[in-house]
């Protein structure tokens, strides 16, 4: 009970940071929207993705990029709290221990959802259409939500261990680039051997394929389970490492 109250109070604080500087959400959504524009209107004509509309094909990968860029702000906010001594202040107070981290994680879920909604709205303007029903959208929300949760816990690690602001946010760049070597922009069949092998065996491809199928109103098949297995594994490993880093950082 006290843990829930503490988490609620601390989450309120951290959400206020976001409403005070909404530019972090705008920046988060801006780059994915720029990618959408670039690929749909500039490069898309030259890409044969086999789908009826390239924006429909592209959107799932762009949503993954949105999540990756959003969670780097979580790492940054945690890093700032640590530097300002605010985590230590909380630590000397009678507060349930996990509440401090959970408040940052919940804030990340809220901020990322807002950014995802903004990107989807932009895609709708660019002609994105979905045949998914309510269940399909719920499944998409579930996949994206659990991916956000998993990557947020991953972001907690650099947030707690970085020695500079760049170190806290830099880990996100590989995550933002990973979709480029997946089925997010072009089908993997077009890629040369080893690259194709990597693309087909890294998590983004199964996640993107599952979301794409769901948004098209189709059954995602095995991709869904592979995607969920990846997300679950990332979540478990990141959670264990993040809580260990937290314990090491503040006794």
């Amino acid at each position: 009970m006290t843990a829930l109250t503490d988490t609620a109070v601390l989450t309120g604080r951290s959400l206020r940071h976001i409403t005070r500087s909404p530019d972090t959400i705008i920046t988060t959504a801006l780059m994915p929207i720029a990618f959408l524009l670039l690929f749909v209107y500039v490069l898309g004509g030259a890409i044969d993705a086999g789908a009826a509309s390239y924006v429909d094909y592209l959107l799932p990968g762009i949503l993954v990029i949105t999540i990756a860029s959003s969670i780097s702000y979580t790492a940054f906010r945690l890093y700032l709290d640590l530097q300002a001594g605010i985590l230590e202040r909380f630590q000397t107070m009678p507060i349930a221990r996990p509440s401090v981290l959970w408040s940052h994680v919940l804030t990340s879920l809220v901020a990322t959802s807002v950014a995802l909604a903004a990107v989807i709205a932009a895609a709708l303007v660019m002609g994105f259409r979905s045949d998914a029903g309510v269940l399909g959208w719920l499944a998409v929300a579930g996949i994206l939500g659990s991916l956000t949760l998993a990557l947020t816990w991953l972001a907690v690690i650099p947030g707690l261990t970085a020695t500079s602001p760049d170190g806290a946010t830099g880990f996100a760049y590989p995550l933002i680039l990973l979709p480029f070597v997946s089925s997010a922009f072009v089908p993997t069949e077009t890629m040369p051997g080893p690259v194709r092998w990597f693309a087909e065996h890294q998590p983004v491809t199964s996640i993107v394929d599952a979301v794409r199928a769901l948004l098209a109103g189709q059954a995602p098949g095995a991709d869904l389970w592979i995607a969920l297995a990846w997300v679950g594994a990332i979540l478990a490993v990141a959670y264990i490492l993040a809580t260990a880093a937290y314990r090491r950082r503040i006794g």
């Binding site: 206020r16 940071h17 005070r20 500087s21 300002a84 605010i86 230590e88 202040r89 000397t92």
Partner: protein
């Protein structure tokens, strides 16, 4: 359990650096004790051990009757720490910072408590402004005000006046005295001798990992040989006491 803070044989090293090599210290309930030591003496290290942020390598310490190692949660219910650097939320307003702490401490009427603290520390007018716009002195006062929300019985202040101008320093001193008058136990660290002289009931000097002297100002002064041939008798300052004691125990 009479002492509010009792420290016995506390040791702490960072790798090969032996910062605390056997610290003994007692702080009586309701008193102000100044832990005096030069930069790097280990004052912050000791305060962090007492406020459950750091584990000692050896020795025992209890705060308000609770062992810091085995009952840290109980210790945290009884203490507050004002760290060496102000730990305030820059994006929130001063009042929001106080309300946050009041809600986390489950104080009834957080808003009322926040307003009372703002008034008490001369921040009433600045209360609605973001802390990012505050001066160093205002931040420090807010920091201390946040520590005192919920009236914890034992308060640790780590160099509370370092970096403050004389006016702000005097305000902090007045607040610390008011605390002790209200029955709060205060352990503060300082590098400046006159701060210890002005504020503390007892002064403990931390040097080379140990408390080398511990006593009232009068007791410390008595450690210096009485002036002999001087025509005008002059009380030794704490600085002279410090130098005499440090010189006597000496470098190896």
């Amino acid at each position: 359990m009479t002492a509010a803070v009792a420290v016995r044989g506390i040791e702490k090293s960072y790798g090969d650096l032996h910062v605390l090599t056997g610290v003994d210290l007692e702080v009586a309930r309701g008193s102000i004790v100044a832990l005096l030591g030069s930069n790097g003496a280990g004052k912050t290290t000791l305060v962090r051990i007492l406020s459950t942020l750091l584990k000692a390598d050896a020795g025992e310490a209890s705060v308000a009757g609770h062992d810091v190692a085995s009952a840290p949660a109980e210790v945290r219910m009884s203490i507050s720490l004002t760290g060496q650097f102000a730990a305030v939320d820059e994006i929130l307003t001063g009042r929001e910072n106080l309300v946050l702490v009041a809600r986390l401490r489950r104080v009834p009427d957080p808003g009322g408590v926040a307003d009372a603290q703002l008034a008490r520390f001369g921040l009433a007018e600045a209360g609605a402004r973001r802390v990012g716009t505050y001066s160093g002195g205002m931040r420090r006062r807010l920091d201390i005000a946040m520590s005192l929300v919920g009236d914890p019985p034992v308060v640790f202040l780590d160099e509370p006046t370092t970096g403050l101008d004389p006016q702000a320093r005097r305000e902090v001193w007045a607040a610390v005295r008011a605390l002790a008058d209200g029955g709060t136990t205060v352990l503060l660290t300082t590098q400046t001798l006159d701060e210890a002289e002005h504020l503390a009931d007892r002064i403990a000097i931390l040097h080379e990992g140990r408390i080398i002297v511990d006593g009232t100002l009068a007791e410390l002064r008595a450690l210096i040989p009485a002036p002999t041939v001087e025509h005008v008798e002059k009380q030794p300052t704490l600085e002279e006491v410090f130098l005499a004691v440090v010189g006597a125990k000496g470098t190896p």
